[in-house]
């Protein structure tokens, strides 16, 4: 890697001071939360306002640090190396006169952004320290120790209209007149009915036959009646299988269900 070589050449240029600082930091490499954190710490050695920081100098310090870490065979996370490569690139941009054929941001722009990032991180650190230094509930000030529960009273009121009342009364007084509703049951074929019917017919079913062919007469066409009769007949056949009077099979999902008498 060309960048690697470049880095190697460059770190020797680093000042003795920078190298000593880097050595001191090395011990604490696990203590950093990533390259930006490390850069922020390194920048403090410049002892200037973050806005006036020399990014070029900072890049050099960082690269020295990385080389030291490598020399000590310390495991560095990938993002440290990515940052090293990027800073080496930034450094070359800052040192070399701008190349008019190269597009993209200038070295100064990139440096300014890095300075902004460092300043912002530093500002957030200070802000979090200020926040935590505030009076806090449960430490400096306190809420009511013995709160009184708010009881929720649910009040239910009932209501009815005159129409409800009259309909209710009409319902009672004319119970007998509501015959039509009994008609509904004429479309219901009960399991008991199906059981009776099948018990009397099962003797004739020696071979496998479709369950649908067992529906009672007059129940096959009307969909409502057919549904009821099918359900009842199926339920009755299950009951008879349970009692050992019948066998049941189905070739496939949704295939016709077939039944036959079980020889005892």
């Amino acid at each position: 890697m060309s960048e690697q070589d470049q880095t190697e050449n460059q770190w020797t240029e680093g000042t003795v001071e920078a190298r000593l600082a880097a050595e001191a930091l090395i011990v604490d490499v696990d203590g950093f939360e990533g390259p930006l954190d490390l850069l922020l710490t390194l920048s403090r050695t410049q002892k200037v306002d973050l806005r006036k920081i020399s990014i070029l100098h900072l890049a050099e310090q960082y690269l020295v640090f990385i080389e030291q870490a490598k020399a000590l065979r310390l495991e560095l996370a990938a993002d440290y190396l990515v940052m090293a490569a990027w800073l080496a690139f930034l450094k070359s941009r800052l040192l070399l006169p701008p190349d008019p054929t190269e597009d993209g941001p200038s070295g100064e722009e990139l440096a300014a952004h890095l300075a902004f990032q460092l300043e912002r991180l530093s500002a957030m650190r200070e802000a979090s320290a200020k926040l935590m230094a505030r009076d806090q509930m449960g430490r400096d000030f306190f809420a009511r120790g013995l709160p009184e529960d708010v009881t929720r009273v649910r009040k239910v009121t009932y209501t009815a209209t005159l129409l409800d009342l009259m309909q209710g009364y009409a319902r009672i007084k004319t119970k007998d007149e509501f015959r039509p509703f009994v008609m509904d049951r004429e479309k219901v074929f009960t399991m008991e009915q199906a059981l009776d019917r099948m018990r009397s017919l099962i003797g004739y079913a020696g071979d496998w036959s479709d369950l649908n062919s067992w529906l009672p007469e007059g129940w096959e066409t009307d969909p409502v009646k057919r549904r009821s009769a099918t359900a009842a007949t199926f339920a009755a056949s299950l009951e008879m299988v349970k009692q050992g009077q019948l066998e049941l099979r189905q070739g496939d999902a949704f295939a016709p269900i077939q039944i036959r008498k079980k020889d005892s």
Binding site: L146, V153, K155
Partner: protein, 215 residues
């Protein structure tokens, strides 16, 4: 350092400050605090008993009071403001079918006994249904019937009449009028068949099956 000097070394904070301290401690404490405990927590030389006297006075007539619990002190909301500590939610529900039918029978047949209501409805009337109607002040006890057992009768109340906009119970439309109004059609009334009022019918019916298909 002599004994006498020591006292002045720990000068007690002014009484106003002590009052604030007692106030804060009582407020934040999860249980009543004794004077001994106050004393232990406050600066040396403080006199919580005296501070309590001032504090109690300060809270007189306020929304919160200083109260004594055994030999300890606590803050409590004023008794007359207890109603603020309740959150009331009002829910309006439709009367159950059993209650409506019972009410209708009382209205049309008053004065009527429980046995008569049961005879007309064809099912027994649960105690809860009658209680509910009495509690709503829609029915009340009437005179006892002069028959063996002297059963109580039920009649509708003025509240009932007011609620339904009736001058008296005789204003209730008769069967004939109900029929001519289309209310007695053999067809299920709009909504009547669907509103699932069977579900909240709390009375056990001996003819459960028949009732199921009634409408």
């Amino acid at each position: 350092m002599s004994e006498t000097k020591e006292e002045s070394l720990f000068e007690a904070p002014p009484m106003g400050e002590q009052e604030r301290m007692v106030e804060a401690i009582l407020f934040a404490s999860v249980e009543p605090v004794t004077i001994k405990e106050l004393s232990d927590r406050m600066p040396h030389g403080a006199d919580p008993a005296e501070a309590l006297v001032y504090l109690k006075k300060r809270y007189e007539g306020r929304g919160v009071h200083l109260v004594r619990v055994g030999d300890a002190w606590a803050m409590r909301t004023a008794g007359d403001l207890g109603f603020l500590m309740q959150k009331e939610t009002v829910e309006t529900r439709k009367l159950s079918r059993a209650a409506i039918e019972t009410l209708a029978i009382v209205a049309y047949h008053q004065p009527v006994t429980r046995a008569e209501i049961e005879e007309i409805r064809g099912v027994s009337v649960s105690r809860g249904t009658v209680d509910q109607l009495i509690e709503m002040e829609w029915i009340r006890f009437g005179r006892r019937r002069m028959t063996p057992g002297r059963p109580v009768t039920f009649v509708v109340t003025q509240n009932f009449l007011d609620h339904f906009g009736l001058e008296n119970a005789r204003d209730l439309p008769g069967l004939k009028e109900l029929r001519s109004a289309g209310l007695l059609d053999n067809r299920p009334l709009p909504g009547a068949a669907l509103n699932g009022d069977d579900e909240d019918d709390e009375d056990e019916s001996p003819e459960g099956q028949n009732e199921l298909f009634e409408d």
